[in-house]
Each structure stands twice: as C-alpha cells, then as structure tokens.
C-alpha cells in the first residue's frame, strides 16, 4: 500500500511506462518526466526502476525456492524429529503468510485502478482455489468415476448405482445407517433437549453442562477405546473387567460380547458411543435457545396455571423449533458420515457396516473404484436437500 502510493500518487498521473511486456506484474516506474519535478533525478529513477523490477522478479522466485527447499527438507530430510517438527510448523504457517505478503506487495506495485481490480482476487483466490480443488471439482470427478467399472476403464452407465442399492452388503449398510439415524441422531437430540431443560432448572447448571459437553473434545478413536473397555468380555466365571458385563454378572446374568452378538441390535452399542459424544453439542445449542426465550412469556403461562411439563411441551419446544431443526440437521449429516467408531470398534464385522465404511471398504480394500465412487455420490445426494435449504436461506438474507 505505502509503496504504491509513493510511486503513483506523486503527481496524480498514473504511470504508463511498462518496463517489459514479459512480466505480468509490471512495476509502475516512478514518474520523472513531469516538468517541474526536481527529484529524483532521472538516472537514479531508472536504476530505481531496475532495482524494483529485479526485486519484483526475484522476491517471488526466492520465496518459491525457499518454500520448495522446505518441502524437500520435510519430505526427504533425516533431521531429528523435533527439528523436523518445528521446521514443518514454521514452514507451513510462515509459507502461507509469506505467499500472501509477497503477492500483495506485487499487486500494490500496480496502478490504483488495476490494483483495485486485482486485489480482491488475491484475497479470495487462494481460498477459492482450494475449495475448487478439494471439494467442488472432486464432486464431479467422483461422479465421473462412478459411471465407470472397478478399474475406471470401461463406461458402465448406472450399473454401480444399481449395485449400490441392490447388493446385500449395501442393503445391510443402509439398514444400519438407518438405525444410526433413528437411534443415534434421535437420542442425541432428545437427550440434548432433556438435559438442556433439566440443567436450566437445576442448581448445578454449569458443572452439569461441562460434564455432558466434555466428550465433544474426545476423538471417536479415543471414545472407541473407552467404550471397548466398557464392553470388554471375559469368560463366564472369570472376573469381568468390562463395566457392563460386571453389572450384568452382578445381577446374575451371563457375560455377553455386546458388539458381536444379537445382530442387528449390536449396532446399538456402537450408537451409544456417538450419543455419548454428540449429546453435548445438541445440549449447548438448545440451552442457548431456551435462555433466549423471554422470561415473562413463561412466567405468564405459569401464572395461568400451566405446570412445568406443560410449559416445556407447549411453550418452550415450539419456541425453539428453529434450533431443533438446525441441530437435528447437523447431527443427521454427522450421523450419515459416521465412520471412525464402526471401523475401530468392529471393523464392520458382525453386520455393523455403514455407508461410509462400505465406501472405504469398496474403494481402499476391494479397489472397486466404480462402486466406491457411487457410494460417495449417494452420500452427497443424501445431503443435497440440506444444501438447497442452506442456499435458499442465503438467498433470503438481505444485502449480500
């Protein structure tokens, strides 16, 4: 910013001279040919231009070279682990900042009208490029792959989609995902609402909310260890080290392998893990919404003789309906993509596969690229209603 002001705003005339046609980021020279202008002298200006030009070419190249060296060092380097770690962090974070800074410096050497046209794209460009590369274009590429056979060699039309909806293992995956949606998403939302309301009326609200909320910070892999331990089973007669079987045995029952037996209900023991993780999310949002209801409204209902349950059912729930819809949608999307818990707990054995694990299995284990891609597209299609809803909401927003 300051540089460009210095170069072009001196006499208000945008410099026209281009140093060379080859550089896309042509550097505007200091204006020196205006009559009456004393400084700087002509030759100094020209050398200044030359220096500036050299900097404009060398600086980005040096930046790129430096970043490339860093990349090679990280990829092939044999330095001690801790050194590599620090270099990696500095390189990654600093590299992105450096690219922005250098690019912006170049843009600011342009004349103001050009600059104001280019600068917005400098700001949105990197984000946009990554969005296109990592999400938008892959959607198309995956769809394309889904129309080809397992090796991506021959066009097969919609055959992969027919497989995706008729193969037995796929139907089992859809059924299990349905169980996850009904019981997992249902319980998370229901319990979240219940706990939010209970906490609102209890005398230890903050502590209770923190406890329910805490599992949100735990990874699904970590949670799987925690719950695997709870479900652990030992031979009958041996002391049970899993909490659930210990309780069952204490009441005179037989120890069970919870995640393996009683198909398809063994899915419920995996679903419990998600409920444990996600209820806190629902609770926090519901709690904020409940606190947003004007106290007078509820007070009026109570004065009119409504009991607490009626207040909850006929006042609070309808008034936070918007939040309930949002939370349910978010959790449903999350549940559709559930992967970690299943793959870590059972690896999809004992009839516990879901859509996302089948995607992984078809793609990365069976190398059936066509079917794998088709399953991914099915996941995408499942969220399209939400996407349309979001876009519609956005269009209704004023003044974008």
């Amino acid at each position: 910013m300051s540089n460009s002001k210095r170069f072009s705003a001196v006499n208000g005339v945008p410099p026209k001279v281009q140093l060379t046609e080859a550089t896309s980021s042509a550097v505007p020279p200091k204006s020196a040919n205006v009559p009456g202008e004393q400084e700087p002298p002509v030759d100094e200006t020209q050398s200044g231009n030359l220096v500036l030009f050299l900097i404009a070419v060398v600086a980005p190249l040096a930046t790129l070279f430096f970043l490339w060296q860093g990349f090679l060092f990280l990829r092939d380097g044999q330095a001690p682990k801790i050194v590599t770690a620090i270099v990696a962090i500095v390189w990654g974070v600093g590299g992105v900042a450096a690219i922005f800074a250098v690019a912006n410096w170049l843009v600011e050497q342009l004349t103001p009208p050009v600059r104001s046209r280019v600068q917005p794209y400098l700001f949105v460009g990197p984000a946009l490029l990554l969005l296109l590369w990592y999400l938008a274009i892959p959607a198309g590429r995956t769809f394309y792959l889904s129309l080809y056979d397992s090796n991506s060699q021959h066009f097969v039309g919609l055959a992969n989609y027919v497989d995706a909806f008729t193969e037995r293992f796929m139907l089992a995956a859809f059924r299990n995902n349905l169980l996850w949606l009904i019981f997992g998403a249902g319980a998370s939302v229901g319990l979240g609402l219940l706990i939010a309301e209970l906490a609102d009326r209890s005398s230890f609200e903050r502590v209770a909310k923190s406890i329910i909320f805490m599992p949100l910070a735990i990874s699904m892999v970590g949670a799987s260890v925690i719950w695997n331990f709870i479900y652990a089973v030992r031979a009958p007669g041996d002391p049970q080290i899993g909490l659930l079987n210990a309780i069952v045995v204490a009441f005179g029952g037989q120890p069970q392998a919870w995640t393996a037996l009683l198909q398809p209900w063994n899915n419920l023991f995996l679903i419990a893990i998600m409920v444990w993780l996600q209820t806190g999310f629902a609770m926090v949002l519901f709690s904020a919404a409940i606190k947003g209801i004007p106290a007078e409204v509820l007070e009026a209902a109570r004065t009119d003789g409504a009991n607490e349950r009626q207040v909850f059912q006929y006042m609070i729930v309808p008034m936070i309906r918007g939040t309930i819809v949002t939370v349910s949608t978010t959790i449903v999307i999350f549940t559709l993509k559930i992967f970690d818990i299943v793959i870590v707990m059972t690896g999809g054995q004992f009839n516990t596969d879901v859509i996302a694990t089948q995607f992984y299995r078809q793609y990365f284990t069976n190398r059936n690229f066509g079917l794998g891609s088709a399953i991914a597209i099915v996941l995408l299609v499942a969220v399209i209603p939400v996407m349309i809803y979001n876009l519609r909401q956005f269009r209704n927003q004023e003044a974008f």
Partner: protein, 372 residues
C-alpha cells in the same frame, strides 16, 4: 466456566433445587462421567491389576482376602468328599470356595495333587496400586519386558506414541492456522470488497458447507499420488484446509461483515489500503471469531482419523495419534493398560484446550449452527 453457561437468573429461582430435577440430572452426569473415569483410573493401574480386576475395585469394597494359607492336609481323597478346616465338599466345591458357618471361606488353590489351602475372610479392601509404567511403555518406542503370570519374560515393543504426538502437533497447528488465514482473507473480501464473481463465489462456499468429504478422498488421493504428496505433511495440511474452508469462510464472513462500517471508512479516508486495514484492523477485531474457529478446527484435525488414514497412509514415522491408537486397538486389543494410557495421551491436549477455551468454543458452535 463460561458466560454462556451462566443462567440468567432469577427467573427460574422458583423451580430451583427441585429434588427430582437435580436427582435426574446428577444420575445423567454420573453416567456421562463414568466411562472417562474408568479410562483414567485404568491407565494408572498395573498391568496385572487391569487385566484381572475391574477398575472400580480401586474403590473400597468387600472382598475375600486370604488370612491364612496352609499346605494340603495329608490323607485326603481328592476324588471324593473331603473335610477341610471343618467344612465338607468335593474338589470342585473347594476350588470354587466353601463358606464356613463362621463366615470365612476355604479355597483350594492349584491342582488336585499339588495345591494349597487358603482360608479367606470378607474384608474391606482397595486395589489401589498405581503406576506410571503404562505411560512409559506406550510413549517410548523402546523394547521393554513384562513378566507373564507363568513367570516367563516376554519382550514387547513400546508403542512410540510420543512420536505420534509430535506428528499430531505438526499436522494440527498448520492445519488450523492455514485455513483461518485463507478464510479470513476471503471473508474480508466478500464482506468489504466489490468484485465481479463475488456472489457466485460465496454461493459456492455456502453450497459446499455440507458436502461430505468422502466425495473428495479418491480424486485428491490420485492427485497426491501424481504429485508424490501422499504421506507428506503438506498434503494433510492442504486437505484439512480444503475441507475446513467452507465453514471457516462462512463463520468469519458472518463476523467480519458485521464490523462497523464507519470504522473501515475512516481508515480508508486516512489513506489505508485493504492490506493495512485487514492486518491492523480486521484481524485484531476478529479475534473472538478466529478463536472460535481455531478451537473447532484444532479439535477436528487433532481428532480426525479418516483424512489421516487416507492421506498419511501406512508410513509409521508420520502417523498421527489417532492412527497409532487405532493400530494399537487392532494389534494389542487386550493390553488394556496400554490402550487406556494411549487413549488418555490422545485426549489430554484437546481436553486442555477445551476446558481453557470453552467459552470461545461454545460461541463458535452457536454461530456456526444456529445461523447455518
């Protein structure tokens, strides 16, 4: 802990202290806490204790404790009825323990020929022997030896989670900062710059908010294989950046676009350019929103398993914690003393971040979901 968690009393003071409400909530909280407590306690117990008794036995409880041990009395017929310590029973009975009228229990330990007799009494006991060995074993990659119940020595390779911990940091920090930086620039441009394509670009951001990342794994992996980027930190950073960008841009736009217009206009009048305004004004003012998303993204990346699994692959020297832990579950699934310690190591940092910055986290959740 947070302002959002403080209730706007006194409007519900009337209903407070309700026994039913408090009781139900307390039970639910206990249910929610018990799994984590079990993990934490187990991770500090010795291998033998973890594998032979439940973690809850560290609490005082009534159990049979041996008060006297003696060799087998001579002249017993192990195949018929026997009388030991004044009680009668078969070998099977004594193996399971026979309770005497005085409340003690007689137990045959060992086989029929070579065994000992234990006289046990029911006493209050705790199994509270704690150790840090599990953490040592799971953190280092060195070999260590464990004594098996039958007395033999078994050599085990440590799980080397400290290396994975470092990798997790290397993956998570840039994968949190880079998307924030890119998204903040983009959000600023969407909010305060006018340029052709602004609206369609933002529509794209909104549309991509809910796109499942499964859709991208395969094409991106192909690109990475072509660019030799699989198993590099750069590849994982960029992947997490790409997948996190829609939400980041959306959240930050919502925040940055509500900053007072006057402030920016006066800065423009003072001659500041977009870069200066962004660096000096917008970034400092957006700290709450940046922090919210940072926590979000940090937890997401730290806890991620799928993206790491696909883009890092099987190179052990770059594997992150979640992958090493998942491997441990597969390969050492019954070594609970290791798994619990490993799981706790993977949880410690996110839990610290979570408790320290809970307020920002909650704000981020509210901004991200209620509006989206």
């Amino acid at each position: 802990m947070t302002t959002l968690f403080e209730s706007k009393e006194p409007r519900r003071a009337r209903a407070r202290g309700n026994l039913w409400v408090n009781g139900t909530l307390a039970v639910i909280c206990l249910l929610w806490l018990v799994p984590t407590i079990g993990l934490l306690v187990s991770s500090f117990r010795t291998r033998e204790d973890v594998l032979n008794t439940g973690w809850w036995t560290v609490l005082p409880h009534r159990a049979w404790e041996t008060v006297r041990e003696s060799p087998l009395p001579t002249g017993l017929n192990p195949d018929g009825m026997m009388t030991i310590e004044g009680v009668q029973g078969t070998f099977t009975d004594f193996r399971n323990g026979v309770v005497t009228p005085t409340g003690t229990r007689v137990l045959w330990v060992g086989n029929k020929r070579l065994g000992t007799i234990q006289v046990q009494a029911r006493q209050w006991v705790t199994n509270a022997h704690f150790t840090l060995e599990n953490y040592r074993d799971v953190l280092t990659g060195k070999q260590y030896q464990i004594r098996q119940p039958d007395g033999s020595i078994q050599t085990e390779q440590g799980a080397d989670l400290s290396n994975a911990f470092l990798n997790s940091l290397v993956v998570t920090i840039p994968a949190t900062v880079i998307p924030i930086l890119l998204a903040a620039f983009a959000a600023y441009a969407f909010a305060w710059m006018r340029f052709p394509g602004r609206r369609p670009f933002f529509v794209l951001v909104v549309a991509l908010l809910v796109v499942p990342l499964q859709i991208a794994l395969v094409p991106i992996l192909r690109d990475y294989q072509r660019l030799q980027m699989t198993g590099t930190f750069l590849g994982v950073w960029l992947a997490h950046t790409g997948f996190g960008l829609p939400l980041a841009t959306y959240l930050l736009y919502n925040y940055i676009s509500t900053l007072p217009r006057d402030l920016l206009e006066s800065a423009f009048i003072d001659g500041a350019g977009h870069w200066t305004i962004f660096m000096r004004l917008i970034l400092p003012l957006s700290v709450p929103a940046l922090a919210s998303f940072a926590i979000f993204q940090f937890l997401w990346v730290w806890n991620d398993y799928l993206v790491a699994l696909i883009f890092i692959g099987s190179k052990p020297e770059v594997q992150v914690l979640t992958m090493r832990l998942a491997d441990l579950i597969g390969s050492r699934g019954n070594d609970w003393q290791l798994l619990t310690a490993g799981a706790f190591i993977s949880m410690i940092l996110p839990l610290m971040v979570f408790f320290a910055l809970q307020r920002y986290f909650v704000q981020g959740l509210l901004a991200g979901s209620v509006k989206g």
